[in-house]
Subunit: 196 residues, 2 copies
DNA sequence: CCTACCGATCGGTAGG
DNA sequence: CCTACCGATCGGTAGG
């Protein structure tokens, strides 16, 4: 019983893995269940023994990833790091996510609009709350004279967008390591935010 | 004759305008010709009196936008501004494009992968050349001791990605003007790049 | 610019 | 997990 459960779970995970790569590459709408089935190595109809619908696949990929982000941010909020250190930690976390879970992260960022209701609304609320929390950290940093008086909204947007751009790097064959990417980005963004 | 030409051209432009908005909102693949026809106010079949195919619409939107970007960069290259001023001009140009031609710019950035061959390869080459040219400006700035020794690749990626993130702002109802957005972003990125 | 229609493909189901 | 198949919808065409 336990074995069967685990087997089913791992096959579903395998489907999600392949789906994530395909959604990233071609987009959710342009990926058919027959395409996906072929990548998984079964017939399209057989997919439905593991998942309920195409939508459910997207939901699972996105909300798992969103949850990882939320957990990290909550841990960070309850820490007693300085604002600038919190922002640095956020940059490093997102860069690492983009690099280590590139497909899932990219699908969340690029394909969320194809979620169906009520998941779409749910996701939008979560994302908005996430941005608000990040803005608060930047605003705190300004009040504590750690950061310059830049618009928290622009600052947060710039940070999150910068990481998004790494999707590209991951595709290309640049001679630069993940660690270098991370450090360079932290350097650029943090020194852009710091009061000098 | 000339009137007919102009009329046809403007109707085609109108179709491209609506298509751009819909491709941005729902994505290229999830937008059907029937959806588009409804937004234009005619039957789906009638679209084909103005355009050849769904693909052609995407091509026109993307390559017009790409051309605007290339023209600006070439003008900038032949100017005698300092490297840091060139980068600033690039940031301001891209922010302005994102704000004034939001649909077209977003479609170019988000939907290019749905171009068919040989347009896809053509676009990839153009984009790569664009990035290389920008990297050269950053590298020059470093050599002339204007900028810090950050990876030109990461710098260019960060700049272009940051602008991309503004798509979001444009959707939301933030109480911040385009000019403020532009200045804040220039401030953050330029001071992140400058040698201090 | 429309009506009528084409073959292809879509997400998904029935039944074994 | 498969074969066989469903109704819906897709991009696009013929003909007027």
């Amino acid at each position: 019983m336990a074995t069967v459960r685990r087997k089913n779970a791992s096959k579903k995970d395998f489907i999600l893995l392949r789906a994530s790569a395909m959604f990233r590459e071609k987009g959710f709408s342009a990926t058919s269940m027959r395409d996906l089935a072929e990548m998984v190595g079964i017939e399209a109809a057989s997919l439905y023994n593991h998942i309920q619908s195409k939508s459910e696949i997207l939901q699972e990929i996105i909300f798992r990833m969103a949850n990882d982000c939320n957990v990290h941010l909550e841990e960070l909020e309850s820490s007693n790091l300085s604002s600038i250190k919190k922002i640095e930690s956020l940059i490093r976390f997102h860069v690492q996510m983009m690099i280590s879970k590139c497909d899932d992260y990219t699908v969340m960022i690029n394909e969320w609009m194809h979620l169906s209701e009520p998941y779409l609304t749910n996701f939008n609320i979560q994302r908005h709350q996430y941005v608000v929390k990040m803005e608060r950290i930047v605003a705190d940093g300004f009040q504590q004279k750690e950061m310059k008086g830049i618009s928290p909204y622009v600052a947060v947007l710039t940070i999150l967008s910068s990481v998004r751009g790494l999707e590209f790097w991951h595709r290309s064959s640049q001679k630069i390591t993940p660690k270098e990417i991370e450090d360079n980005m932290v350097n650029l963004l943090i020194s852009g935010l710091k009061k000098n």
